[in-house]
């Protein structure tokens, strides 16, 4: 879903400050960024640069302390807790570095979980789970638990879970961080394929410049909570 001018997410002078006693940590400080619909943007930066915080703000997992984030044509800061949960459920898909699959659930149950939260009819769920797992080529591992899968498979399962509600925005926080380079590359290829086939907007956090340069359409570099550069990759 996009705004009329084709912008999927717009961070407008966004800040996220934390108070630690008397000190103020400026995790994200006055950052403005536009992500256009169907674009693959990489947020590049070293540890502590504020890239994950910015991603969390855009994904509706956190609220900014200053500025505004517009997604779906609405200011996320003005949404109620319930509306923000609906935004996460219906508009956003999330992939994490540590996969974050629920270990006691099977693959099928993990992928079905967002459908339960979005109150999708039970009759429809089976086909949706199958479709998502086919997209990441894990349709034959339905009954396996995460511990029975390799790291790459787990991340693919997490990707299937992120896609099952057919979101328009996919946020990936260091999706290759816990994987070897070959597996990481396969995940990046999968993300690229999803972007191209589904026309999905992807915002990915990474600290690996080569990966960002190879797969992203645009790189926004952050350091100390500030946006350093924002532009088409070199």
């Amino acid at each position: 879903m996009t705004t009329s001018n084709g912008v999927a997410v717009h961070a407008d002078r966004v800040s996220r400050h934390y108070e630690m006693g008397a000190a103020v940590i400026r995790a994200v400080d006055d950052v403005s960024l536009e992500v256009r619909s169907g674009e693959f943007v990489a947020l590049l930066g070293s540890s502590g640069s504020g890239k994950s915080t910015l991603l969390n703000l855009m994904a509706g997992l956190d609220r900014p302390t200053g500025g505004a984030i517009f997604a779906n044509g609405r200011n996320l800061s003005e949404l109620s807790s319930l509306e923000l949960a609906r935004y996460r459920s219906r508009t956003v898909g999330m992939v994490f570095q540590s996969f974050n699959l629920l270990p006691r659930m099977t693959l099928e149950e993990n992928v079905e979980l967002p459908l339960r939260l979005a109150e999708v009819d039970r009759a429809e769920r089976g086909a949706r789970v199958q479709e998502a797992l086919e997209r990441v080529r894990l349709e034959k591992r339905l009954t396996h638990r995460p511990s029975e899968l390799s790291g790459g498979e787990q991340q693919r399962a997490a990707l299937a879970r992120a896609l099952v509600n057919r979101p328009t925005l996919l946020f990936a926080d260091e999706p290759t961080g816990n994987l070897d380079s070959a597996t990481g590359e396969s995940i990046m290829l999968l993300l690229k394929e999803i972007q191209q086939k589904l026309g999905m907007t992807i915002v990915m956090v990474t600290h690996e410049r080569p990966l960002a340069e190879r797969f992203a359409d645009r790189i926004a570099a952050l350091a100390d909570g500030k946006l350093l550069t924002d532009g088409v990759k070199s």
Partner: protein, 451 residues
């Protein structure tokens, strides 16, 4: 989240922490069992006392007398007459009483002094007529031998102390015969005296004469306690015979002398009638109705009210006492759920990242708490019932050794089952309030960072 999904996830979470969930549920079950056991003891004791007292006839009877004015009483018995608005306590009145709602039976008291001859030895005692209805009301529970074979049987039941006077081995008396000597009242022709207001048998007569008579009776039972069908009833009678037999003997009674000297009314009347209600709680209404009809009444209704108040307070104390264990169980639920939040912090973060609203997380914890409460409640009712059965069994073994009849001191009515389960669920929900709201307020970013 839909209710079905919420339930499935909650059950899954409970299954995953099966040991802790089971122990918490068991804690609730022990709490509920304690509550059920104590309350069922209170209810059981109340039922037992009520039954005993009801059987005693002290609380479910109304004694009806003819209303007399105080002035007439001061004038002396010879001139005493019914008050102006008073009605005669005759057969018509008796029939009216029988027609009143909630009246079980109406009968007149028959009790007279007698001399009993057994094995040629005379013994003085009091004979009392027992209505046929006494057969089933529990007054004769624990009787040695049996109740009268019929309403007109020439049979007797002895009170144990009187039986001991007759024989050192009272039980050997059952099946033996004894002779009852009594004074029969025989009506005199009108010219021989004035018409008394005493007995139906003396209607249209001028009084009565006394003739000694004998009656052979077979002993069919011996009773340990003294059955008292009302405070004006056959209490103090030590030789009990069927009421119809007692009436047919036309034995002279204590009131006869007083009635013989009263002014004639021209209508046969009873000295008093005993009206028995279906239950003690209905006595008030019957008493009011009879008073309205113009008769004097007496009952121990106030005593029943005091008894009710006593048991209400007793039950309340037992409820408080039994609830203590449930309070401890509540702390167990809070502890389990707070621990679950710590353990499942990351999971809560994932759920929120996937779109779970605060209320979904809250409801999940509530459902988990209520499932533990429901299971604990059901188990607790079963445990409580088992405790009651076990204690009852122990009491009855003891009673049997003491040669006393068995009794059931625990009672688990359906409302108590419902109350216990509903209370367990409500208490569990209350216990889940704090953990659930804490879990719902978790910041997803912080929760996801938690390892």
């Amino acid at each position: 989240m839909k209710a079905g999904d919420l339930g499935e996830l909650a059950l899954r979470n409970l299954r995953e922490a099966v040991l802790r969930s089971s122990l918490t549920t068991l804690g609730v079950a022990v709490g509920v069992a304690s509550l059920v056991a104590w309350l069922s003891l209170g209810i059981g004791l109340q039922a037992l006392a009520t039954k005993r007292l009801s059987n005693s006839g002290l609380f479910d009877t109304v004694i009806v007398t003819q209303r007399r004015s105080l002035q007439s009483m001061r004038r002396g018995p010879a001139e005493s007459s019914p008050a102006k608005n008073a009605r005669a306590l005759d057969d018509d009145a008796k029939k009216e009483f029988e027609r009143l709602p909630n009246v079980v039976e109406v009968y007149s008291q028959v009790r007279f002094p007698t001399e009993v001859r057994y094995n040629g030895t005379p013994y003085s005692t009091i004979v009392a007529g027992i209505p046929e209805s006494a057969r089933g009301n529990g007054s004769f529970d624990g009787i040695q031998g049996g109740f009268f074979s019929g309403a007109n049987a020439d049979e007797a039941i002895l009170q144990i102390e009187f039986a001991r006077d007759l024989s050192t081995q009272p039980s050997s008396l059952i099946g033996k015969d004894l002779i009852v000597r009594y004074a029969e009242r025989q009506a005199l022709p009108p010219e021989a005296g004035r018409t008394p207001g005493g007995h139906a048998a003396d209607r249209e007569t001028g009084g009565f004469s006394i003739v000694p008579r004998e009656k052979k009776l077979r002993i069919v039972g011996i009773i340990e306690t003294e059955p008292a069908a009302g405070f004006g009833g056959f209490g103090s009678g030590r030789l009990l015979i069927p009421l119809e037999v007692a009436s047919s003997l036309r034995a002279a009674q204590v009131n006869d002398l007083r009635d013989a000297v009263r002014a004639p009314t021209g209508k046969p009347v009873y000295a008093s009638l005993t009206v028995r209600a279906k239950s003690a709680s209905l006595v008030g209404g019957i008493e009011t109705a009879i008073k309205t009809m113009g008769f004097g009444t007496f009952s121990l209704q106030d005593a029943t009210k005091s008894l009710e108040v006593f048991f209400r307070i007793f039950d309340m104390l037992l409820f408080i006492f039994g609830s203590l264990a449930l309070a401890v169980a509540t702390l167990g639920i809070i502890n389990t759920l707070v621990m679950a939040i710590l353990e499942r912090r990351r999971e809560i973060g994932i759920l929120k990242a996937l779109g779970a609203a605060d209320r979904d997380v809250k409801q999940l914890f509530f459902v988990e708490a209520s499932v533990m409460g429901l299971l604990g409640g059901v188990l607790g009712v079963v445990f409580g019932w088992l405790v009651g059965r076990a204690v009852t069994f122990g009491i009855n073994v003891y009673l049997k050794r003491q040669s006393l009849p068995p009794t059931d001191v625990f009672s688990v009515p359906f409302w108590l089952v419902l109350l216990a389960i509903v209370l367990a669920v409500l208490v569990s929900l209350a216990a889940g309030l704090y953990p659930a709201s804490r879990a719902a307020k978790l910041n997803p970013v912080e929760a996801l960072r938690y390892e």
